[in-house]
Every structure is written in C-alpha cells, then in structure tokens.
Subunit: 492 residues, 2 copies
C-alpha cells in the first residue's frame, strides 16, 4: 500500500483533507457541505460517544430525544439566540413533492403543500427543548432536569471542511434546568470538567479551560465556558463548550417554578455540547506524515497481528500462535485484528495499518515461532522491539497505556512550547505570523479592541483561562490598563 | 400515585395514548406530528439499540453515517422509490432567515437564500447511499459492503400516533451491496432472522416471518420480507422489514463492479430497518390496565427496592440491608433502583413502579428484617411471594428469566389463539369485525383482489408466511384457485 499525500510542512491543510479521505474516515457527499462518515471514522466516533455517554450518566444525566424541526415562531422566541443562528438555517417550507407535469419521471415541489409556518432544521435545540420543559416544570420538585441528547444538527456553512466545519454534523447537547443560579453555574462548570477530562484522558489532547469573551459567547448565553486545544500548525480549536444560560430561555418561553415557599421564579438553564468536530481535533493533534496516529483508548483496532510466512504450512503454524495471542489480548479487553489475508503482502499491510493509526502492530514469522518471540512495533514512535510470547498480553497492555501517555505528553509539550507571552502589538503580529500558537497578551477588556485585532490579524481571544494569573499590564492595542493576560490565536 | 386512565376494553386507542404519556415514555411536541421521546422511553430505546447493534456487528456489519438531506435529483433517480415517498417529503428550499423589516424581533425566510436545488429530508437513505457506493465500488474485491446507520428520518404523516406513526422517527437502516443475487437474498433473509430473534427473545413478542405482496412491498424493492406481530386489540403491526432490492438502485445510480473475470455487472442490494415503532409494539403486546408491562431484557429498571418503615432508625436498618441486596443484584448484571425517598409513601411508590412496568419489586419492612426475608412482587402476574434474603440474587435472576419467558408465552398463546382460518368472504368479514386477529384465507394472488378486500374491509395481506403450508383452495373473494392461505389483518 502506498498512499502518497502531502507532508504537514508542505501543505498542512491539504495534508489534513487527504488524510481524512485516504484513511477512510470521511468524505464529501453529493449534498453541498455535508459529509459521509465512513465506517472507520464512525467507529472512532462510537468510541467517543461511549466514553462521553458513560461520563454523562455517571454525573446523573439521562438521554432523551427532541424533534429535528423547530417552528419559526419558537425559534425566534429567544432573540439573541435566533439572531445568532438565523443566517445559517436550513428551512423546510413544503411537505410534499409531486410529478412534474412537463417532465416525466421528474419531481417538483408541490406548491399546494406549503407549510403555514416554516420549520427550521435545528442548529441547536434550546428553543424546542425549553418550549417542552415549560410543560414539565411546575415546582422545585420537578428540578433539576438533567437531560442529554445525541443528535444531528444543521448549520448552513459556505466554506466547509470534513469534520471541522460541515453543514450537518453529529453532536450531543445537554440541556439542564435548575432552581438556583448557583446550581446552574455548578453544572456548567462540572460539564466543562467532564469535557476536559475526556479530551485529556481519552483523546490525549491537552486543553486550556477558560471563559469566552462577549464576542465569542454562545448566542443566548450569559457565560460560555470552553476548552481550547492547539493543533500542530499552531492554530487553536474550540473543542467543547458549556453555557450558563441564566434565565434567558426561561423568560423567552415563560418557564417558571414554585420554590419551597411557593414563590414563582424563572428557571435557570445550562447547555453544553461537543461534536464530530472532535474527530478533526483528534487527527490534527497526533497524526504525522505517515498517516493517522490514534490514542489507544479511541482506536477501533488497538492491536493488529500480521503473519510473515511462506506457504500454507508455515501460515497454519503461525496462525495457531496468533490466535492464542489474540485470545489472550481479547481477554484483557484489548481490541485485536488478526490479518491473515493472502491477497496482500506483509509490507502492504504494515503500511496500511500504520496509515490507519493502529497503535500496536505485532508481526510473527517462522524465526519468532522458533524463538518464542514476536516483533512489536508502536505507531507513535515507530520503535520496534522483540518481545517474548510469554506474558505478552501484559506487555502489550502496558505498552498501550504508555502510548496513550506518550501521546498526551508529546501534545502537552508542544502546546506548552507554543504559548507565547507578547507585550506589544508589533510583537503580537510578528509572533502570530512566524510562530502561531497561543499568544498570552494584555487586553483592555472591550469588544471593540477584540474586534479590531480580529479584523487586522484574524486572531481572536480563545479564552480567559480559569484561575488566570492576575498581573498589571497594558492592552497591546490601546495601551489601556489590564489586569490579566488572555489567550489569542487564529482558530479553526 | 393514582393514574386514572381508560381500560383496554373501554377504549383501546385512548388506553394506548394515555399510557405512553402518563408512563413518561413520550409526548407530542410543538411540531405537528413529531414526538418528544422522554428519558424513560428513551432508556428503553437505548436497550433496544444496544441489543440490535450487537447483533448487527456479530453478523459482520459496521456503522456509518450519511447525510440527512437528499438532493431532489438523486431522490428521483430510482423512480418507484421516489414515487413511493414523494407524497410525504419534507423539503428544504432555503438556507437562511432574515429579520422581518416590517416586524421587529421576527424572522422571515430570506428569498435571496433560495437553494438552486431543493433538498429532501431523508424518508429513507437508499438514494444518498447508493450514490455514495458508486464511488466505493469498482471490483468484486470491494464487495460485500455491510453497513448500518442509526438515524432520524422524516415521513410527513397527516394522522400521527406516538411511536406508531410520527413525522420524524428514529431507526436503523442497513444498506448492503453484493456481487451476486444469491448473496443478497441470503443477507435479506439473515437480517429477517436477526429481527425475529430480537422481537421474540428481547421484546418477548412472537412474530410471523413472511413475504409481502406486491401491493405492500417497499417502493423500489424486488421482494420485501417482514415480521408481523399481533397486538392485544387484534390488529397486526409490521415490526421490521428486510428488502431484497435486486439491481434497481445499482441501475438507477449506475453502480457496476468488475467480477473475477473482469466482466462488468450491476451490484445487488439489500436494505433493512426497524424503528421507534417497536416501542409502540412493545407497549401494545404486554401492557395492561394497570400500566406498562416491560420484559426484563428491555426494562431500564429491572428491580426496584422499596423500604417500609417508621422513623429514621428503622430506615437506617432497612437501608443497610437494601444496599447489600442492591449490590448483590448489580453484581449479577441486574439493574436495580433503591427508592428511599421520604417524600412519597410506599403505596404511592408501588403504584408508580407498577405503572412504569418495573418487572420485579422488592419490599423490605421491619418484620422482614427480623425474619431474614423480603417480599417480592412480579409485575406480569402481580403475584407476591416471601423470599429468604439468603440466595436472593439467584432467586431474582431466575424470576427475571421466568418473567421474560412468561411474557413471551402469554403473547404467543394469544397470537396463536387469534389466527383464524376462514373460507368465505362472509366469514372473513364476520370474524374480522367480531374477533380481529390474523385471518388465514385463500387468495387468488392478484393485486386487484387484495385492493378490493382492503377497500371493503380495511384488511390487508400482512404476509405470505415463510415455509407456508401448501394446500388447494379457492380465493375468498373471486373463487379462483389458490395454493396457499395468506394472513390478512387490519393493521397499525
């Protein structure tokens, strides 16, 4: 197998696009801006879903399902939210097609089947959900409501990229309702921690936890918390958000509850989500010029076993051993594939599994059989070692843990090496162009300044880190006083 | 807890609707024809998904995801399929809303954001998937493709009922591609077996496996296999279908492959699906006038433990024991809830869990503590028995299996008692009106006869059972010769 594709240094963007397609993760579809998630990519997404779903349930949440469509009158109820998403809404206006009288075999929209009220394909579900919660909440006894939904959403994008920005994407969206402001903020923060834990411990992707500025806040939120990651090209990527929605949606949909004293108050809300965008983040955090690199915890195949043989008899002997090894690894909960196809050479297989990011490859040849050994190659460092077959399953288990750790540490070192303190606008622009990464700079706290910097440099404030160090300084653009550095970056 | 609702005898349809809502399974949404699946209902659906997904994977299938939207030109490519679904398609015509200049705070569809080609919200995905497969298949080496998708689909329905018929519903759709006709038929039949196994062994719902007549066939299929179940009101319900699509979609989308001899041929296809409709079937198969009855294998809570106590001290003693029992049941993989809320009486809790269909209830009072016993009540027969705490977990495990078996047997007895042989059209109509159920009758094999019977009686041919007994007879309507009885019924 030979998959020619650009190196990261040659063309990072082309490297990413071709990697996604050639590794069979996803491809563009016939529908402008929508992707097909192929089985190998979807298997990674399923692993993400499983891990996240368990974490949501462990923190007391349950799943439910709300409609795909939002009637326009509900959609526009929370004005800021509506304004924020109106420009990218797919709108259903008709509910029937009919035969084209002028063109046999073709269909046209039936003008008589026009909806009296248009339906928006959900770009996010706050509106439909809060309209539903209104019927569920009367008293404090009905609270909290802790619901998550796994769903598809549509945001019409003009410029799309596989996983990173597509018109339709898959995600989960949590929507919770609380009796007090404090409880809602606690929930918002808890889910940010869940996302950070997932990013760091499953995706092996370090993240900065922080708060968005008003410019970058979710439309309809009082506060948006986020996790921000750094990609290998020095651009940032927002990997998850958790919103404190205050009473905005409760007011828009008139959702009140009677507290213990019988007094009516509006309900407090949060929402939080991560999406298939994480797939793009995963690829761009670890992969290299030889293809995908997957952290073991999210790899659909953690170990592949490849036989090196001449003739049927040798294959039979090797296969017997390989099946034993496979069984002992499966018993440890490790996912294993034994690839004994005779249509491909071992070399082709090596290259293919390397390209697909399989963390550990075990090769067994006749000499290994004689010696009671196998050759073990790890994808992250490309090191090869000879291991004894005895106790191999423990060795492999340890190796998988080591790879998971190593990927995280490597990404963390890279991230930390790419946070640059800058103290003037000149330095800011120079470092941004020459090095990229996160730029820790003083800012006067105004939206106007942030906007001007964005217009002039394409860099935005990714977040104000949580527990940020307080220090006196001057805004790089206006020279006005500032009490802390914030993180700027160009972002996906 | 008191949930007044109609008995089945009083009004079966109202009984069903109110049961679904009052048991917190689902409710109607603000979007006409679309439902909200509430957490308790969704938890059952998740259990269904898990069991089915495992069976799909065990038979070699993988999951993937294809776009929600189908461009109209693709949608109309397979003419019969397009014709079959055209009348119930939600159509996206615009991709942006804008502020209404005449009405501050309101939005209107932006006429400048009209799509050049309308997008159909998928009612089923054959079109978009076969257009994608075209790019994946060149030679026999690319076959078979064995893909499943979990997704939402939309079919605009005028008259809707929760779970049974909704404009949007959740389902899985398998779409496979094969090199030979034989292999595709084998796949179609295999998936029918998977569905039947799931229905009978997880849902405890007996089904008849059969083949649809041309009138009832999936639009675009050469043959539709189905499983048909009988509800308590004597109406049939199609619980799953598996379609042999021949080369229809391969021809519509020009998907050819080179066989081993290098000759080009069209690819053979199947598709198969089950949906949230199964939730309705589950409810109508087992539930009674006291509420839901759930088979243990699909019950979100299999065992509930309720303490009967006076005062904090007694509660503390009972709770200690209850937590031990809970732990021992969890260790057996049984899902348990210990409900020690002090806001509700034991009686209220008993009624509530009965209504929610929890298969086994364990009550522990002070006398039980003294005697080393508990009271165990089963939901299916409402029997109560006193069990020793010693070895309780095995007893409960056995009881859950027994309940699962009993529900199946009960439903099977009911179904078998409601297959009626009829030999004249008069008898057919009489039995249909008075007893309902499946009517095994001779039919001349023509679509016209089937249509006339449907027009006159609202009964359709549910299926021609697999391995059907061959016998000479005369069509009940036309008197023409017939070689086998087929199953008629009124259906959901």
């Amino acid at each position: 197998m030979s998959k020619q594709f650009p190196t990261r240094a040659q063309d990072y963007s082309a490297w990413y696009n071709e990697l996604i397609v050639k590794a069979d993760m996803a491809e563009h579809s016939a529908v402008k801006g929508c992707m097909v998630i192929k089985p190998y990519g979807y298997a990674i997404w399923e692993k993400m879903q499983q891990a996240l779903d368990k974490m949501f349930k462990d923190t007391g949440h349950v799943n439910a399902y709300f409609p795909l469509f939002v009637p326009k009158s509900l959609f526009e109820a929370e004005e800021k939210n509506a304004e924020g998403f109106a420009k990218e809404c797919a709108v259903v206006t008709h509910y029937r097609l009919k035969t084209d009288p002028d063109n046999k075999g073709k269909l046209i929209v039936d003008p008589e089947a026009k909806l009296t009220e248009e339906l928006v394909v959900r770009p996010t579900s706050e509106a439909i959900i809060w309209n539903t919660y209104k019927g569920w909440i009367q008293s404090y006894r009905d609270l909290p409501i802790l619901i998550n939904q796994w769903a598809n959403v549509v945001r019409w994008e003009m410029r799309t990229r596989l996983f990173l920005r597509t018109a339709e994407f898959l995600w989960q969206e949590g929507h919770t309702a609380h009796a007090t402001r404090e409880e809602a903020i606690k929930e918002t923060e808890q889910m940010l921690e869940v996302y950070a834990h997932f990013a760091e411990n499953f995706m092996a992707m370090p993240v900065v936890k922080g708060i968005k500025t008003a410019n970058e806040r979710f439309a309809g939120a009082d506060e948006t918390y986020c996790i921000e990651a750094l990609m290998q090209d020095g651009k940032a990527l927002q990997a998850g958000t958790s919103h404190f929605l205050g009473q905005n949606f409760a007011k828009a949909f008139d959702v009140k509850f009677a507290n213990k004293d019988g007094k009516l108050d509006y309900v407090w809300a949060t929402s939080w989500g991560v999406s298939t965008r994480l797939m793009g983040a995963l690829v761009m955090t670890h992969s290299d010029d030889q293809g995908l690199v997957l952290p073991p915890k999210l790899a659909p195949i953690q170990v592949v076993i490849v036989p090196i043989y001449k003739g049927e008899e040798q294959l039979a002997q090797i296969s017997e051993k390989a099946e034993q090894i496979k069984k002992s690894l499966l018993a440890k909960g490790i996912s294993v594939k034994y690839d004994d196809r005779d249509t491909q050479t071992p070399g082709w297989k090596f290259a293919d599994y390397e390209f697909k990011g399989v963390p550990v490859r075990i090769a067994i040849g006749p000499r290994d059989l004689a010696n009671g050994t196998v050759e073990v190659a790890r994808r992250d460092t490309k090191e090869k070692k000879v291991y004894a077959m005895d106790g191999l399953e423990e060795q492999v288990e340890n190796l998988l843990n080591e790879i998971q750790q190593n990927l995280y540490q490597r990404a963390l070192d890279f991230r930390n090496a790419n946070i640059h303190k800058v103290d003037s606008y000149e330095e800011f622009k120079k470092v941004l162009d020459e090095k990229g990464g996160f730029l820790a700079a003083h800012w006067d706290g105004t939206s106007e300044t942030e906007q001007q910097i964005k217009d002039e440099t394409k860099a935005t404030i990714r977040c104000i880190p949580l527990n940020n160090k307080q220090e006196e300084g001057k805004c790089i653009l206006t020279g006005k006083p500032s009490k802390q550095r914030v993180l700027f970056a160009r972002a996906y």
